[in-house]
């Protein structure tokens, strides 16, 4: 009786808050479309969609990998593979029919790339947040995600700073699967991978919950929209590094020692607004979208902040930096390399997946010793 009365008295406040959230999103998209251009407004909307989908459906990358490694629950990874397959069905043929206009997440396989992916996999299990996950966690008020994010961005800037040197340690030419044949090979590889995870899963966990199927479909639609609007796939870490590079430049830091940040394309973007950079727009949308969902939920932000020992906070800072640095060497994170790489036919996405999954197994072992959960 009392709680029902309280709910009724709270309802107007909740409705007002939800209305304000919708209005704020529409105004931000509208203002950016008007003053920057409709493409940028659309990209912000797509980014908000990613944030809303990931937080609203409680879907991600680090958690499902952990569930598979620790509890042999394959559902999350199967949903990721389903989403990648759906995107590839559209993306790989389109990349062949519209070269130049559309570009894939295609990068060379190399020593630094493999090592970077391994470190990224470990670090993402330490903070339980991948590229997209760290942004979503920060937006929804997770203090680990919030602390990791600025160091993730600094790491991304630093990794890009020395990327050319690292790539010079040895790399193959870019290997890509293209056209209808490439799509066929990609789908077969995805099917085999899904079958392996299904078989490795615990018998009672071999199912795909409806929530995960919806998440896979929504992410696929948003990723395809990202490609059609921006001309490039969904990515995360480039934008974070650009934020720090612009800040460093603004503070007078000399970037002339970096082949990456002095390349003509980088120089152009350093002098333009972040609101015209596609990965920055989807990154901003991820954070804001997750904030919106957490605020939308009744009591979504009322959860008390957890207490961690000092070493956990230090580990978060270090892991955050490593997430950024390693993902630049690896030519992407779980989004740019794994999701977008495989779905646009880049073989580096497959190598990234194998290396990062091995790293994740190590990260899961490290996490309890770093004070981020009860030690076993």
């Amino acid at each position: 009786m009392i709680s029902a009365t309280l709910d009724r008295t709270r309802a107007p406040g909740l409705t007002a808050r939800r209305s304000a959230l919708v209005a704020a999103a529409l105004v931000a998209i509208g203002v950016l479309s008007l003053f920057g251009g409709a493409r940028y407004g659309l990209m912000l909307a797509i980014g908000l969609g990613f944030g809303i989908a990931l937080e609203g459906l409680r879907f991600g990358f680090a958690g499902p990998w952990r569930a598979m490694i620790l509890r042999r629950e394959p559902a999350g990874i199967l949903a990721q593979l389903l989403s990648i397959a759906l995107v590839s069905i559209v993306a790989i043929p389109l990349l062949s029919s519209h070269p130049g206009e559309l570009t894939g997440a295609q990068a060379p396989i190399g020593w630094a790339m493999v090592g970077g992916a391994f470190v990224f996999g470990a670090a993402m299990q330490v903070v339980l947040g991948c590229g997209s996950g760290t942004l979503v966690n920060a937006g929804s008020g997770n203090p680990i995600g919030l602390l990791a994010l600025p160091f993730f961005a600094i790491g991304s800037f630093a990794g890009a700073y020395g990327l050319i040197w690292w790539t010079g340690l040895g790399a193959l030419p870019i290997l890509r699967l293209s056209g209808w044949g490439g799509l066929g090979v990609t789908l077969v590889l995805l099917g085999i991978t899904a079958a392996v995870f299904y078989r490795l899963g615990a018998p009672e966990a071999r199912r795909l919950p409806r929530r995960y199927v919806i998440a896979a479909l929504v992410l696929a639609l948003l990723a395809i929209a990202n490609l059609m609007v921006a001309g490039q796939p969904w990515g995360v870490v480039y934008g974070l590094g650009l934020w720090v590079a612009k800040g460093a430049q603004g503070l007078g830091m000399d970037l002339s020692g970096s082949a990456f940040w002095t390349a003509p394309g980088s120089v152009t973007r350093l002098h333009e607004s972040l609101l015209t950079d596609y990965t920055s727009l989807t990154d901003l949308g991820l954070i804001a979208g997750a904030f919106g969902v957490a605020s939308w939920r009744r009591g979504g932000l009322a959860q008390p902040l957890p207490r961690y020992p000092a070493r956990a906070w230090v580990a978060t800072i270090v892991a955050g930096f490593l997430l950024g640095y390693s993902s630049r060497l690896a030519f992407g994170c779980n989004v740019g390399a794994f999701f977008s790489g495989i779905s646009t036919g880049s073989l580096h996405g497959w190598v990234w997946f194998a290396a990062a999954f091995a790293g994740a197994a190590l990260g899961i072992r490290l996490r309890p010793h770093l004070g981020l959960e009860a030690a076993k």
């Binding site: 493409r39 130049g100 059609m228 650009l242 980088s266 954070i287």
Partner: protein, 54 residues
């Protein structure tokens, strides 16, 4: 303390980042690209994590 504090910090940092950026690099709607890259005939030129610098 609850997540309301940390989520608010995240949102405030995001707004500060955008505000600082706009003071140094204002938007120009007259240089806006076509709405969709697909079908535009214009080469994609955005920065991306998988791409080496151009």
């Amino acid at each position: 303390m609850t997540r309301a504090l940390t989520a608010s910090v995240a949102l405030a940092a995001l707004l500060l980042l955008v505000a600082l950026d706009l003071t140094g690099a204002p938007l120009n709607p007259y240089r806006a690209p076509p709405v969709f890259a697909f079908g535009s005939g214009v080469a994609a030129a955005g920065g991306f994590c998988a791409a080496l610098p151009n």
